[in-house]
């Protein structure tokens, strides 16, 4: 006994002459069904070729999101060319905060009768960077500072951030970009601390783990010297200083209130000699 069936794909009637005492395969690859409709399977993958779920896709005036396997299926499409796109920014937060597209996000995909066109989109996972300030002497007290992270091709939200407890975290950075990280000590701290490096260029991040970038800060030891004379408190002159067997001459050519001598070793400083201004020498001689 034969049975008339309607093809679910093309709508044409066909006659099945198979045995009807059990299920049999009607989707034979040798079938004569004239497949008029095609389809588009969008596959959104990450760096590891795993499917990314919940990504908003757009095709043929519909906007489904990808399923758990990373696929969005547009079926029963007549032969034509379709604009097929993904919208990462418009996807749910757990997609838009985790992924970005570094390659194309829209294609013109041709659909042919009886064929399914696979359109693949690749997403990259964001990485994070933890910028830290550390003391070279191992002490825990840190000076106030701020960090700035910048890139030529990626505008970062709030690029300059204060170091809270000596660190600041930058999320949603792109592993495909190079970043320049800068550290700036607060004006009041520069007298007491010195950064080994002000800027680190060419920094990259990975999606696998938070990338640390460390700025090292060294405490500065200094003294301030003053030449005081009752008639004129702005005296020029120079001091011969000695510390741990080394000597250096520090000159004040303009006559400041204090002569600031930075970057000394911790410990005592000997003032070995003081050279007075010529005028004072004449005065004292007279």
């Amino acid at each position: 006994m034969s049975t008339h069936l309607v093809c679910p794909i093309c709508g044409q009637e066909f006659e099945c002459k198979g045995p009807h005492d059990g299920p049999h395969d009607v989707l034979s690859p040798m079938g004569k069904c004239p497949l008029e409709k095609g389809g588009i399977h969008v596959f959104v993958k990450d760096n590891f070729h795993n499917g990314v779920p919940k990504v908003k896709t757009v095709c043929n005036k519909t906007e489904p999101v990808t399923d758990r396997q990373g696929f969005a299926i547009f079926d029963q499409l007549p032969e034509a060319t379709y604009t097929t796109a993904i919208d990462v920014e418009g996807s749910e937060d757990d997609v838009s905060s985790k992924y970005y597209a570094s390659t194309r996000i829209s294609v013109q995909a041709a659909v042919k009768p009886g064929k399914i066109t696979i359109v693949e989109f690749a997403l990259n996972e964001y990485g994070a960077m933890l910028v830290k300030l550390e003391r070279t002497d191992g002490e825990s007290e840190l000076p106030p500072a701020k960090f700035t992270v910048s890139s030529l091709n990626h505008a970062i939200m709030d690029p300059t951030r204060p170091a809270a407890k000596g660190q600041a975290e930058y999320k949603q950075l792109k592993p495909t970009e190079l970043y320049t990280v800068a550290c700036e000590l607060h004006e009041d701290s520069r007298k007491n601390f010195k950064l080994e490096e002000l800027e680190k260029a060419g920094q990259t991040v990975t999606a696998a783990k938070v990338t640390p970038v460390v700025f090292r800060v060294t405490p500065r030891y200094w003294i301030e010297l003053a030449l005081i004379y009752p008639k004129n408190d702005k005296l020029t002159g120079s001091f011969q200083l000695g510390q741990q067997g080394q000597e250096a001459r520090e000159t004040d050519p303009v006559g400041r209130e204090f002569l600031h001598v930075p970057d000394l070793q911790p410990g005592t400083v000997d003032v070995l000699d003081v050279v007075l201004p010529k005028s004072l020498e004449f005065e004292s001689l007279a």
Binding site: I9, L27, F71, K115
Partner: protein, 127 residues
Amino acid sequence: MLVIRNDQLRAFQSERQHMLESGLLERFAHDYPDDFASLGKEGAQALAVETLRSATSRHIQTEAAIYNLLRLFIEFGPGLELAPYRRWANDMLDHPTLPGPVKVNLVTKRIFELTQGRRMILHREED
């Protein structure tokens, strides 16, 4: 007592392998003449050998299941790279304890249900 030596066992296995390969090629040429022609006899034979290797490593032993695996490979590539739900399909085929025919049937049914007999083509920018 009948003793079957390892050499004899290998000879039987080799004979079975040869018969399976011939059977696969015959059905390949009959059911997918265009694919068979485009691959050529050597290419088709290489795909049949790859199917047998894959079937052995995935504990798929029945002739029908091996042929269904070949169908998947012909239509979607030996890594199922053109298949919808390729990760799921490969994971299912690699399952260590499920019986071979069950694994292949699950995968073929689900994938062919989605494609409905239509062939997959990968969109390329120059298309």
